[in-house]
C-alpha cells in the first residue's frame, strides 16, 4: 500500500506530468470561459495531443482540462449571463443577479471555491467507491456486462433534457453507427458499402470532435457575437468564502452527494448534476424566496455538485469502461489508447496508476483556486477575443487533430460528417450526447449481447437468473418504463384537471 502510494507520487512528480497539468489547466480555463465552447469540446480537442504523451501525462491533461473548463464556464455566466459551458446554465441567473447587486467577487469566489471543494469530494468518492466495486465486478460475466451497458445507455436517455423518445432514438442511431465495419462477432464487413475506409468502422474520437466542436462552429455561423465584457476591477475574491463554507454546510454536503450520485450513474454528467442540485437547494432552503435575487445558497450547492460529478463520473468508466458522462466517454478512448484498458483488474494490476490518477485529481482541484482567481482577473481581456479569430482556429484543430490520431485523412471526413449530423440533430431536439454514448459503447453492448446469447443457446432465461444480472435487468427495465409512467401520470393529472374545469 505504502509502496504503491510512493510509486504513484513518483509517477505524478515527473516534469512532463506536472507540465501537462499546468498547461492543460490554462487551456481548460480559457476554452471553458469562452461562450459556446463547452468542457466536452475542450477535452475532445485535446485527445490528439494526449496521443503523444506518456499514459499518466495523457490522463492528467484530460482530468485538469475538464475540471478547469467546468469551473471557468461560470465566469461569463456570472459576468454576462451567458453560460460558458452547459454545466453552468442552471445557476447563471443567480450568479448574474449577484453581479448586478455589485458582488461579482462574491459570485465568482463561490464558483471557484466550492468547485474546488466539490471536485475534492468527488475524488474522495472515487477513492472510496472504486475498490469495493472492482472486487464485485471481478465476478461479473457477459450477462452482467450486457445489462450494465444497457443500463448506462438508458440512463443517458433518461437524463437528457428533452423528449426521452428522441433521446432513445439518438442512442439507437449511435449503436447503429457502431455496427459499421468488421469489428463484429463474425468479422463480416457490415454497412461498409464497399468502401475500404469504412472497414475499420467509425472511430469514436473523430465522431466526438465533429459532434461537439464542428457543430458548435456551425451554430456560431448563424448567431450573433456575444457582447463584450466590460473591464472592471475586482476586490478580494476569496474573502468571506470560509464564512460561507461554515454557514451553508448542509447545501454543500447535499450538493456534493447529489453530484457524486449523478456522476456515478452512467451517462449522466455535470449539466444534469447542476440542474438537479440547484432545484434541490431551492426546495430545501429556509429562504426559497431569495433564490434568483443573488442568493449564495443555490450557487454553492450547484457549483459544488457539477464539479463533484466530474470526478465520480470516472467510477463506471474505470471499472466497466462505461462512461459516466461525455467527458469520461472521451477519457475511455484515451485510456484504451494508452494501454490502461478499463476494467476491474486496473485496480489490482495497475494500482499505482490508479493512485496517480487520484493524486492528479487532487492537485488539479487545488491549483484550480490560484489559477481560477488569475483567470477571473484577466477574464475581461480573454473574453474580448473575437469569435472570428477563435472559431477558425478550432476548425483547423479539428482537422489536424482528427488526422493525427490515426494518420488517416478519412477521419477528417468523419469529423465533417458528424459535425453536420450533430448540428441537425441538436436543432431538432435530438440529444447528441446520447448518440455519442451509443457510438462509444456499441461494440461492447453487441459483444456482450451476442456472446451471452451464444452461451445461453438463444434462450433469454440466463439473462435473468443470476442475482446481480436480475437486479441490473430490473433497473434497466425500470429506467425504460420510467418515461412511460411519467407520461401516463402527467396526462392523467392533466385530464383530471380538464374534467374538473
Amino acid at each position: 500500500m505504502m509502496a504503491t502510494l510512493l510509486e504513484a507520487f513518483r509517477m505524478v512528480l515527473q516534469t512532463d506530468v506536472l507540465l501537462a497539468i499546468v498547461l492543460a489547466s490554462i487551456y481548460g480555463l480559457v476554452v471553458g470561459s469562452l461562450p459556446g465552447l463547452s468542457a466536452t469540446m475542450a477535452t475532445a480537442l485535446l485527445v490528439p495531443v494526449t496521443f503523444y504523451l506518456s499514459p499518466i501525462a495523457a490522463v492528467a491533461t484530460i482530468i485538469s482540462a475538464s475540471a478547469m473548463a467546468i469551473f471557468s464556464g461560470d465566469i461569463p455566466g456570472a459576468l454576462l449571463r451567458i453560460p460558458g459551458t452547459p454545466a453552468s446554465a442552471a445557476y447563471t441567473d443567480e450568479a448574474y443577479a449577484m453581479t448586478r447587486k455589485g458582488q461579482p467577487e462574491m459570485a465568482l469566489g463561490i464558483c471557484v471555491w466550492f468547485s474546488a471543494l466539490g471536485g475534492i469530494a468527488g475524488t474522495i468518492s472515487l477513492m472510496v467507491l472504486a475498490p469495493p466495486l472492482a472486487e464485485m465486478a471481478l465476478r461479473f460475466s457477459t450477462f452482467e456486462y450486457f445489462w450494465l451497458a444497457l443500463l448506462g445507455l438508458m440512463c443517458a436517455t433518461l437524463v437528457a433534457r428533452s423528449s426521452p423518445i428522441k433521446a432513445i432514438a439518438s442512442m439507437l442511431i449511435g449503436l447503429l453507427v457502431s455496427c459499421i465495419g468488421i469489428e463484429n462477432p463474425a468479422g463480416t464487413p457490415r454497412f461498409t458499402f464497399g468502401l475500404t475506409d469504412l472497414l475499420g468502422g467509425i472511430e469514436p474520437i473523430p465522431a466526438l470532435v465533429g459532434v461537439f466542436a464542428v457543430s458548435e462552429v456551425m451554430r456560431a455561423m448563424l448567431t450573433a457575437e456575444p457582447p463584450k465584457l466590460p473591464h472592471r476591477r475586482f476586490g478580494s475574491i476569496l474573502a468571506g468564502q470560509i464564512a460561507l463554507t461554515k454557514k451553508y454546510v448542509a447545501p454543500q454536503v447535499r450538493g456534493n452527494i447529489v453530484g457524486i450520485i449523478i456522476g456515478v450513474l452512467p451517462g449522466a454528467g455535470a449539466d444534469m448534476a447542476a440542474w438537479v442540485s440547484y432545484s434541490m437547494a431551492k426546495r430545501f432552503s429556509k429562504e426559497p424566496e431569495k433564490f434568483g435575487t443573488g442568493h449564495p445558497e443555490g450557487l454553492i450547492e450547484a457549483g459544488a455538485s457539477n464539479n463533484a460529478s466530474l470526478a465520480s463520473g470516472w467510477v463506471p468508466s474505470l471499472l466497466f469502461g462505461i462512461p459516466g458522462d461525455t467527458i469520461t466517454a472521451i477519457a475511455i478512448g484515451v485510456l484504451y489508447m494508452k494501454g490502461l484498458n478499463p476494467g476491474p483488474t486496473l485496480f489490482t494490476e495497475r494500482a499505482s496508476s490508479m493512485y496517480a490518477l487520484y493524486i492528479i485529481f487532487i492537485i488539479a482541484n487545488i491549483i484550480m483556486i490560484p489559477l481560477g482567481i488569475l483567470m477571473i482577473r484577466i477574464a475581461a481581456t480573454v473574453l474580448r477575443a473575437p469569435r472570428a479569430a477563435v472559431m477558425p482556429v478550432i476548425i483547423i484543430l479539428c482537422a489536424v487533430g482528427a488526422f493525427a490520431t490515426g494518420n488517416n485523412l478519412f477521419a477528417v471526413l468523419t469529423v465533417a460528417a458528424f459535425g453536420a449530423i450533430g448540428y441537425v440533430m441538436e436543432r431538432y431536439g435530438y440529444p447528441v450526447a446520447a448518440m455519442v454514448l451509443g457510438i462509444v459503447m456499441g461494440t461492447m453492448v453487441e459483444q456482450n449481447f451476442v456472446t451471452s446469447l451464444i452461451k445461453s443457446d438463444g434462450s433469454l432465461w440466463p439473462f435473468f437468473n443470476r442475482p446481480v444480472a436480475a437486479v441490473l435487468a430490473g433497473m434497466t427495465i425500470a429506467a425504460l418504463m420510467w418515461p412511460l409512467a411519467a407520461w401516463a401520470l402527467s396526462s392523467a393529472r392533466r385530464s383530471g384537471r380538464a374534467a374538473r374545469a
Binding site: R161, M221, P226, F449
Partner: protein, 172 residues
C-alpha cells in the same frame, strides 16, 4: 411538429433499412446468432421510436425543457443564440462553411500542404463570421504556422508540407 414528423419518418426509414441490411448479412455457419442480430434489434428499435415521434409522444416534455432554458437566457436573447435568419436566406447557407472547409482539407492538404490549405480555411471561416480583413489576413498567416510548429516541435507530428516547405524555421 412538422419537423418532428419529418425527422420521425426519417428515423423509421433508417431503422427499416438497417434491419433489412442486417438481415441480408451472411450467417456464421453452425451458429444461430451472427452479425445480423444486433442491427436487426437496433433497426426495430429505431422504427418503433420513429413511429412514436411521428405520433408526437413526448413533445410536451421537450417544450418544458426549452421553456426552462429560455427563462435563463431571455434577457440576452437579443445578443446570443438568436438565429439571424431574418437577415437573408442566403446567410443561412453559411452554416455549411465549417464542414465544407473540412472536406476541402481532405481534398487539398496532400497537394497544397498544410500551411496553404489551413491559411485558406482560416481566411474563409473568419470572413464568414463577419471578421474584418484586418483580422482575417493576419490570423490566416499566423494561426496555421503556430499550429504546425506545436504539432511538429512539441508533439513531433509531421504535417504535409506540400508547396510551401519552410526549412529555415524547422518545417520540413
Amino acid at each position: 411538429m412538422l419537423a418532428d414528423r419529418l425527422t420521425g419518418l426519417f428515423i423509421i426509414v433508417l431503422g427499416a433499412l438497417a434491419a433489412w441490411g442486417g438481415s441480408r448479412l451472411p450467417p456464421v455457419p453452425g451458429q444461430q446468432i451472427g452479425p445480423e442480430v444486433f442491427p436487426m434489434v437496433v433497426g426495430a428499435g429505431l422504427v418503433l421510436c420513429g413511429m412514436l415521434i411521428v405520433a408526437g409522444v413526448g413533445h410536451r416534455l421537450e417544450e418544458e425543457a426549452e421553456a426552462d432554458l429560455a427563462r435563463i437566457t431571455s434577457e440576452f436573447e437579443a445578443d446570443i443564440g438568436r438565429p439571424m435568419e431574418e437577415r437573408s436566406p442566403w446567410r443561412r447557407l453559411l452554416v455549411l462553411v465549417p464542414p465544407l472547409l473540412l472536406v476541402f482539407y481532405y481534398l487539398a492538404v496532400d497537394r497544397l500542404g498544410f500551411l496553404p490549405t489551413t491559411s485558406l480555411m482560416v481566411l474563409c471561416a473568419a470572413l464568414a463570421l463577419d471578421g474584418r480583413w484586418r483580422l482575417a489576413v493576419p490570423m490566416a498567416l499566423v494561426a496555421p504556422l503556430f499550429v504546425n510548429l506545436v504539432f511538429l516541435k512539441l508533439l513531433r507530428v509531421p504535417l504535409p508540407s506540400g508547396l510551401l516547405p519552410l526549412p529555415w524555421i524547422g518545417l520540413p
